[in-house]
Amino acid sequence: MIHYKHSVELDVEKCTGCTACMRHCPTEAIRIKDGHAHIDTDRCIDCGECIRVCQSKAKKAMCSKFEHYQHYKWKIALPPPSLFGQFDGLDDVNYVIQGLKDIGFDDIFEVAKAAELVSAYTRLYLKIPGIKKPVISSACPVIARLISLRFPYLKDNIMPLLPPMEIAAILAKEKAKKEHPELKDEEIGTFFISPCAAKVSYIRNGYGDYKSNVDVVVSLSEIYFLLVGAMKKDKQPEIMTESGKVGIGWATSGGESSALLNDSYLAADGIENCIKILDQIENGNIPQLEFVELNACIGGCVGGVMTIENPFIAKTRLQTVRRYMPVSLNHLPADEKFIPEGYFLNTSPSYIPISRLSNNMGESMRMMAQIENIKKELPGIDCAACGSPTCRAFAEDLVRGKIPSDSKCVVLAQKNSEEENGNDSK
């Protein structure tokens, strides 16, 4: 199995072994062992739920520091639309764009601009005869990975189009080379300002055979604090923005869908809701839909773990930002009826049957029978005190040999010792 590089990191010193992350992990990728959490990298989908619920701040998303990448001669910032929702009282995105220049970026290429192109290409894509419907958005990397691990049947429903962040990186580099032909490829650096851990992983791993065009991922929170110090409100900035309402809308759940000008869509957010929707699509018990937009974070990208503001406040602020914007500034030429070849994803990640008990069916069946037998004896209260998230997971871990064969259920052990003590006193 190819090793998947994750971006969720644990500070063992800070971790108290409290079980909160383990109980919230949607893929049961976490166990508590030796007093602290362990993440199973094969199962982790980088959704960031563990970072969100950790009271001890022991979990964080790995990112590069902006100051460590000053060696690029031409540094291009790729700000996502969610960035614009972080600032109190902001009514003009140009303040932020100017701020990015002031903190040391040579050029800015808005991801919202690329998003408007993706919206236009998606409208073209939906018209291709014979494609598998509903088409599932490829923008949230958590969903793409979740599908490759758990919903292999829906693999072909994922739109095979690069997400806005990637198209922004490609176009930003083309623009830099055109405007500054003296620059060498390695002198140009594209910096994505990430609202979430999953985009960091996407950039580090690529997607199928595709290698990312983003060179450096910095966290939105790091850039936010640099910007707050640099943004000057006293002077009206130049108009530099090249995106409209549609592009900014991508920051929140439903924004991508509403840009399709088609009412046959579903937009869901929050990882548990997304899993339920995927289950229903797989079972076929969902209305006929053209498009499904799923965002692992509540509220959409504004809910990413590296954002500053509460997603709902950020959404409200974006309403102000969008108020005087044109609908969209990026349209395809009327004669453009094809999506450029380079924007297609030709391969998708292969199905990784992580939950499979064994490669041999007979052996799997024996193991499952054992799991069912052990489970029957357990209290079924999913207290997680043993270090596995549920009673069933404990039984599974035992049968899979992931925990020592003499591991005990804490609740049962307590009950047994109480019974013994009771017998002694009689």
Binding site: P152, Y153, E282, N283, G284, N285, L357, M361, M368, A369
Partner: protein
């Protein structure tokens, strides 16, 4: 090898919101057994439709899914009103579901046809007033 593994579920006939739980559990178990995604989907669709049928028509029932080496057997048993005319019931779009049920988005008359479509073999035993037992098989070998 004549090993087999059975999963048993009681389908609660009073609760619409929990309909689909047995099918979700089966899906999870089949994934753990390492079955191909297509097979898992066939079984879970057939199961789901059967489960819904038992809830809307029969006040619940029992479901047993048995995995054999070469096939998966799904047995759905209820003590509901039975099916008067199987040929009619097998027609796409035919349903005896009440208006209340239809208003909930069920009762489109696709249950039995879908169960037949997604399985390799289906047998219905039914007696009016006594109940219905449906056996379905999905082959694992080509």
């Amino acid at each position: 090898m004549n090993e087999s593994l059975t999963f048993h579920f009681d389908v609660d006939g009073t609760d619409f919101t929990s309909a689909g739980q047995a099918s979700a559990n089966v899906k999870r178990s089949l994934r753990q057994l390492g079955l191909a995604p297509d097979i898992i989907r066939q079984v879970s669709i057939a199961m789901y439709e059967g489960e819904i049928n038992m809830v809307i028509h029969a006040g619940g029932g029992e479901a047993d899914v048995t995995v054999f080496e070469d096939k998966i057997e799904i047995v759905l048993k209820d003590h509901g009103p039975g099916i008067k005319d199987i040929d009619l019931a097998m027609q796409e779009g035919y349903s005896t579901a009440t208006d209340t049920v239809r208003s909930l988005g069920f009762g489109a008359g696709m249950g039995l046809p879908n169960m037949k479509r997604y399985t390799d073999e289906m047998h219905i035993e039914t007696e009016v007033g006594k109940g219905t037992t449906i056996k379905m098989y999905v082959n694992l070998t080509d």
